[in-house]
Amino acid sequence: MRLRNPFGRRPKEFPSHLWTQCPSCGEMLFNKQLARNLNVCTKCGHHFKLGAKERVEILADPRSFRETDADLSSTDPLGFVDSKPYPERIAAAQAKTGRRDAVITGDAALAGIPVVLAVMDFEFMGGSMGGVVGEKVTRAAERALAERKPLVIVAASGGARMQEGTIALMQMAKTIGAIARLDAAGIPFVTVLTDPTTGGVLASFASLGDIVLAEPGALIGFSGARVTSETIGEKLPTGFQRAEFLLEHGFVDQVVPRDQLKERIGFFLNAFRVAGQDLRWSL
């Protein structure tokens, strides 16, 4: 897997298929070692992006994950064309990722607890939410409700998918509708905000977890920082829209290093399960 480095300079003196430069501390990191460390810089702890498949692997108990709705793919509701037609963009993203759209959903055990798990894939058109992401997240929530299992969603998204226009916008209401039913039924919902989680995904299900966790340094915001900066005609302060900024402003429960995520989620789900025994969502 070739790592993208959107923030810092490109590595110069090392062949990029072997080495990656940490944008935070400048350290040159051997790719294989980086991958073994869950794409976290061994020197400074900088969290690089992590692929959706790898994300499922570090959260689901071994061999517990059963993918659902993997074959759903998008049509082109608007007949959308910019520099190339939307169907061509989808095809390219599918070829690149080997996945039909920007989220993986399925049933899994997490720290021994049966859950419904959804992991967004930033590599697929920036993790944008169109009809397929909306449908799969909604089905995941509906299955969690029907089977009274907690729902865990790992968000990574630039927002709603422009190429599906208002149909993409309506996915916000669609997914929230399903989440609201989960909430009313007292079933736990945990979200993990990873780099980046922005726009219509943050402004829908991602913000509504009973517990909202974030990875260190993750970019999290409603408006793009460029837009915000242009709005006030000033540079934004360092750390604006980062996970720690949201923690300070009250929107994130905890900033959790990647290697502790699974255990942490498991702790919360277990607390809710023990308390709810024979009462509500646990079986």
Partner: protein
């Protein structure tokens, strides 16, 4: 590829079907329910954007003053500030008390500065949520008036949780146990509009727009140039007739010949007629049915391909499904 197209919802079938689907909406209100009726009147998408943004269009407080009686504004989010970009309160609509909440643009630069150009801060959405709860608690129908370029994208909005407030407002509407009619007055800008945009019936003025991102924003991303906004507007299908075809709105409220800005009174009367007719219908529907139909309405958006082996039975679009059709039939009584 051995797939069959499976429409999970969304796109309306061509004219005859769609008229059958929600023709009842037009019954008393002179609403446009079939976009093909509008072919002759359609302008270019970019013209539609300009008209929807026309500063002399009737804005929320003017519509409230004209279409409702005895409006009493309620202020504040009970935790930070009274946001002037969102107004709301209790009024009577043809003698029936309702809660009305709308985004407020200005009719002048001065007023626009005071109203922040109709771009709410998080406290505006939290005020809206509070008023939604008043409607629910006292069984008052809710009318929302959408007219915003979008939620304010400045740093204070980020600090105070623009995204969280929008998500919470949408959540409140999806489960609000009272009838809701949405009217898009002018500009329906993105999630900041949707925070007022979830209802049982979604109407739009004939020259309004509704989009996932502003055409300028889309152009900056897609074409790396804000001057390509016209091209982006074309691609985005954001004009009212498009929204009708896409099922994003249920019907259009016709504007006077020259556009809403040429005759505020006529526009306000048309809005009132539409609202009264829709609330009359919704008032006869049990709240549990409203909630399940509202859920299905938004549940159905999105056109996707699904291989047949995972799809035991094709699903019909929401407006053609039994329960929903039954509801509409009941609503016609």
């Amino acid at each position: 590829m051995s797939m069959i197209d499976r429409i999970v919802g969304g796109l309306r079938p061509p004219a005859p079907g769609s008229t059958a689907g929600n023709g009842h909406l037009a019954a008393d209100a002179g609403l446009i329910v079939d976009a093909s009726e509008m072919t002759a009147r359609r302008t270019t998408p970019w013209m539609a954007v300009q008209t929807a943004r026309n500063i002399t269009r009737p804005h929320a407080l003017e519509v409230i003053a004209g279409a409702f009686e005895r409006f009493q504004e309620l202020h504040g989010d009970r935790s930070f500030r009274d946001d002037p970009a969102i107004v709301g309160g209790i009024a009577e609509l043809d003698g029936r008390p309702v809660v009305v909440v709308g985004q407020q643009k200005g009719a002048s630069t001065e007023e626009n500065i005071q109203r922040n150009f109709g771009m709410p801060h998080p406290e505006g959405y939290r005020k809206a949520i509070r008023l939604y709860r008043v409607a629910e608690k006292f069984h008052l129908p809710l009318v929302t008036l959408v007219d915003t370029p979008g939620a304010y994208p400045g740093p204070e909005g980020e600090e105070r949780g623009q995204a969280e407030s929008i998500a919470s407002a949408i959540r409140a509407l999806t489960t609000l146990a009272t009838p809701i009619v949405v009217v898009v007055l002018g500009e329906g800008g993105s999630g900041g509009a949707l925070a007022l945009g979830v209802g049982d019936i979604v109407l739009a003025l004939e020259n309004s727009i509704y989009s996932v991102i502003s055409p300028e924003g889309a152009a900056a991303i897609l074409f790396r140039s804000a001057t390509e906004a016209e091209r982006a507007a074309q691609a985005m299908r954001l004009a009212a007739p498009d929204l009708l075809e896409l099922g994003v709105v249920d019907a259009l409220i016709p504007e006077p010949a020259g556009g809403a800005h040429t005759d505020h009174d006529a526009t306000t009367r048309a809005i009132k007629t539409a609202l009264v007719a829709q609330l009359d219908r919704l008032a006869r529907v049990p709240v549990a049915d409203l909630l399940s139909t509202r859920y299905e309405r938004f549940r159905a958006f999105g056109t996707i391909l699904e291989p047949p082996n995972e799809a035991p039975a094709p699903r019909r679009p929401w407006w053609a499904r039994g329960s929903v059709r039954d509801l509409f039939l009941r609503m016609r009584i």
